[in-house]
């Protein structure tokens, strides 16, 4: 018996089981997290049915059932409905006691409208009002011609507002800066004349804009909501409308994918709680890429010096310890350093030297994607240095000797043998750095991330890369929408979706690096890594 137990322990079976159990716990936690986030996030994109709740007092409420609280000692059971119509009700959600409900029906003719402002509108379409006519709407369907005409007007308005007026503004600003600098009298007069011309151009455009706005505002739909009130819905504000109770699986799927598409590809609206997160995706990926471009060469070169050229004395050892400790410094400390050193120090100096005309408005002397990326590069450089040093140390001495014996210099040995051999290790460091960098929020908040960036850091205006611009970031977006928004309950799915997206982006960036590493290993053949 004892003998059996002894041999049982000698083969380590319980410990093998234990290690397996711990691994599966870790895996389950990861899978559970991703499943939970996806479920909570994706659920909001699937169109849910709208209930028509008739209360005991005879009034009717239209809404999407979102929550249920069972009865407690001092409270009765309650249902939570998302009733929408925030502009009329003031609230998106409403709790209704179960006892006061007489009946719940799901009529097919209720329309859910997603609007550019004030969120959902729930009700029934009554009539269409345009400049020329007022006609009743059948089957809750707005004629296509009306919608396409409004769409046309909308794009015209955007064209004038963003492109044409934007260009004039740019020129006026450029002229203002030129006038501030020292120029001769003729140029000054020339510019003043040009400014007058621009001003009249602007006036023409603004009248045009007013006219377009008026005609765009003319088309609207009369909607009857649950409490009997009628309201005027301007067609130009409609993002999407459909009858949730009247959709088959195919129709629901279409809505689902259309919503996901909007989420991924459009601008946020309603203080980020609705619309898409495209600028945040763009900002996150771009920032991680810039960070990688900066951190990998820097870290690898530093590691080469530390491992290959620096003598192994007290100074080198202290530097190594310092680098390792740098990895443990709280990220907000890096943020503060980035703000002081990069933004105010270097950015301020750049402004003094090259953009002094624009002062006091800062160009580089304020947070921007370049400074945020540099701060993150600083934050992740220890990871790259340590990984690179270790993989350089793993290159067999025999290979260095073989290279040297063939008449190569130390530098040639490093570039031809050591670096290619340690490429997989360097890529491991790169993966770790990227994973850490993509997940950081705190240092970014003070070095360039904003709640809403008016334009992307890359666009079609010269010089195309605007690294001085502020940008949006998915991590900060989660914090902002989830905890800083006035309507955080309605924005909850948005938070989950953004979280899911951030995780997916980190995974796919890592996957890309993993594939690179696999290729590098393959090139090394049966090597030691």
């Amino acid at each position: 018996m004892i003998q059996n137990l002894k041999s049982y322990l000698r083969y380590g079976s319980p410990f093998i089981w234990l290690s397996g159990a711990f691994l599966s716990i870790a895996l389950m936690m990861i899978a559970g997290l991703i499943l939970f986030i996806s479920k909570e996030g994706l659920r909001a994109f699937w169109p849910s049915p709208i209930a028509q709740v008739e209360l005991n007092d005879g009034s009717k409420v239209l809404g999407i059932l979102t929550d249920y609280e069972s009865a407690t000692a001092n409270d009765t059971a309650k249902y939570q409905f998302r009733v929408g119509n925030r502009d009329l009700n003031g609230l998106d959600f409403r709790w209704i006691e179960a006892t006061s409900i007489k009946s719940i029906l799901y009529p097919k003719d209720i329309v859910l409208v997603e609007r550019e402002e004030y969120g959902y509108l729930i009700g029934r379409f009554e009539s269409l009002v345009t400049r020329d006519l007022q006609e009743p709407i059948v089957n809750n369907r707005i004629p296509h011609s009306v919608i396409s005409k409004t769409e046309q007007l909308r794009s015209q308005i955007n064209e004038i507002r963003k492109t044409k007026i934007g260009k004039i503004n740019q020129k006026v600003e450029a002229n203002r800066l030129t006038l501030k600098s020292k120029i001769d009298e003729t140029t000054r007069r020339h510019i003043t004349e040009e400014n007058l011309l621009l001003e009249s151009e602007y006036r023409v455009l603004s009248t045009q804009l007013d006219q377009l706005e008026t005609s765009a505002n003319q088309a609207s739909v009369q909607v009857r909501i649950d409490d009997g009130r009628a309201m005027d819905l301007k067609i130009r504000y409609i993002v999407r409308y459909f009858e949730p109770n009247n959709l088959n699986l195919w129709g629901k799927s279409l809505i689902f994918f259309s919503r996901i598409n909007e989420f991924l590809s459009s601008q946020p609206r309603e203080s980020n709680t609705e619309g898409g997160v495209f600028p945040a995706i763009f900002g996150t990926v771009l920032m991680v890429l810039i960070m990688s471009i900066l951190v990998v060469p820097l870290g690898v070169i530093a590691a080469i010096y530390l491992k290959e050229y620096a003598r192994n004395n007290l100074l080198t050892r202290s530097i190594r310890i310092a680098v390792n400790n740098l990895a443990g410094v709280p990220s907000i400390v890096f943020g503060v350093f980035g703000l002081g050193f990069f933004v105010y120090g270097i950015g301020g100096s750049i402004d003094q030297l090259f953009y002094s005309n624009a002062l006091p408005a800062p160009t580089f002397g304020t947070g921007g994607i370049l400074w945020a990326s540099l701060t993150l590069a600083l934050l992740t450089i220890p990871v790259v240095i340590v990984a690179t040093e270790e993989s350089i140390a793993a290159i067999p001495r025999s290979q260095r000797e073989a290279s040297l014996a063939l008449g190569s210099t130390k530098w040639q040995t490093i570039t031809h043998i050591v670096l290619p051999g340690s490429a997989p290790g360097i890529l491991t460091g790169f993966i770790l750095a990227m994973a850490r960098g993509a997940g950081e929020v705190a240092p970014l908040m003070i070095t360039g991330v904003v709640k809403l960036a008016p334009s992307l850091p890359i666009d079609s205006t010269w010089p195309f890369f605007h690294l001085d611009r502020k940008f949006m970031h998915l991590g900060f977006h989660i914090f902002d929408v989830g905890f800083q928004s006035p309507n955080s309950e309605a924005a909850k799915p948005m938070v989950f979706m953004t979280a899911l997206l951030l995780v997916l982006i980190v995974i796919s960036l890592n996957l890309a690096a993993l594939i690179l590493r696999k290729r590098a290993r393959k090139n090394l053949g049966g090597s030691t890594f």
């Binding site: 067999p396 025999s398 290979q399 260095r400 000797e401 073989a402 290279s403 040297l404 014996a405 063939l406 008449g407 190569s408 210099t409 040639q412 031809h416 043998i417 290619p420 051999g421 090139n523 090394l524 053949g525 049966g526 090597s527």
Partner: protein
């Protein structure tokens, strides 16, 4: 012991005309430890010199002193001279890179680079800055032929060298050393990790290479030393005990301790 050293008269006579390497009163130190004591040895052109002796006797250290591979070791320093083609290689004016290009080396354990077979062989040429593609291809083929590997690998030159067998890898390393056209080839127990068949191939190779290269080989294998070398030197505790024609050393050594080692009574 040093005083008792007897140098074969034939070696001594030959030094005048075609001596390639001449080691004079050479001492080697690993920090405070002295590894080699007053070594005097000369090697003639197109001959094979075998260095034998028990482990730790300093024969590898001497071999690695000839192409200054010991420079890489912290705290190591030398006294005395190593003359290669009449130039003292430990003089400040000596170009180490040029020296190593002229002296190829094959290591105890085969150490191909994790690159293709072709890239392994032409590494020395690329490092030297040669870009003439045709010349490189010809040199690679010639070196592989000289190393007796061409027929085995000619169809897979672009494959990773790590996929070759142990014996093939060692011959690849020899081809790699030959490709830069050195004058001297240093071999540090090149067959110690190989099976008898691969060993035979390498020994045949050494025999053929003797026509155009000067070879110094360190070996633990007495029979191998007897088979491949023209001259043999016996080392013991960092000292050169006896050097002479191989037949003489193996049949009629002048010193008792050499005889004891060769006949397997110690070591």
């Amino acid at each position: 012991m040093v005083n008792e050293r007897i140098t074969d008269s034939t070696t001594k006579n030959a030094t005048n005309d075609n001596e390639v390497i001449s080691i004079q009163n050479f001492n080697f130190f690993y920090g405070p430890t002295q590894a080699l004591f007053n070594i005097d040895l000369s090697v003639n052109q197109h001959t094979v010199m075998a260095l034998i002796g028990p482990s730790g006797c300093g024969k590898s250290t001497l071999l690695r002193s000839i192409n200054r591979m010991n420079d890489l070791i912290d705290g190591a320093y030398v006294q005395g001279k190593v003359m290669v083609n009449g130039i003292d290689i430990y003089d400040k004016s000596c170009d180490v890179i040029e020296l190593r290009r002229n002296i190829g080396m094959v290591f105890q354990k085969s150490n191909p680079f994790p690159k293709s077979i072709f890239e392994n062989v032409c590494y020395g040429l690329r490092i030297a800055g040669i870009t003439d593609k045709e010349f490189i291809e010809q040199s690679v083929e010639q070196s592989l032929r000289d190393a007796g590997l061409w027929d085995e690998v000619k169809d897979r030159l672009r494959e990773n060298a790590m996929g070759l067998s142990g014996g093939q890898q060692q011959r690849l390393c020899i081809a790699r050393a030959l490709c830069v056209k050195p004058q001297i080839l240093l071999m540090d127990e090149p067959c110690s990790a190989l099976d008898p068949i691969a060993t035979t191939k390498i020994e045949e190779l050494i025999f053929n290479l003797k026509k155009s290269y000067t070879i110094i080989i360190v070996t633990h294998n007495m029979q191998q030393a007897a088979r491949v070398s023209d001259f043999t030197s016996f080392f013991w505790l960092g000292k050169l005990i006896e050097v002479g024609k191989t037949e003489k050393i193996f049949t009629n050594p002048s010193i008792k301790i050499t005889e004891d080692y060769i006949s397997g009574r110690f070591g």
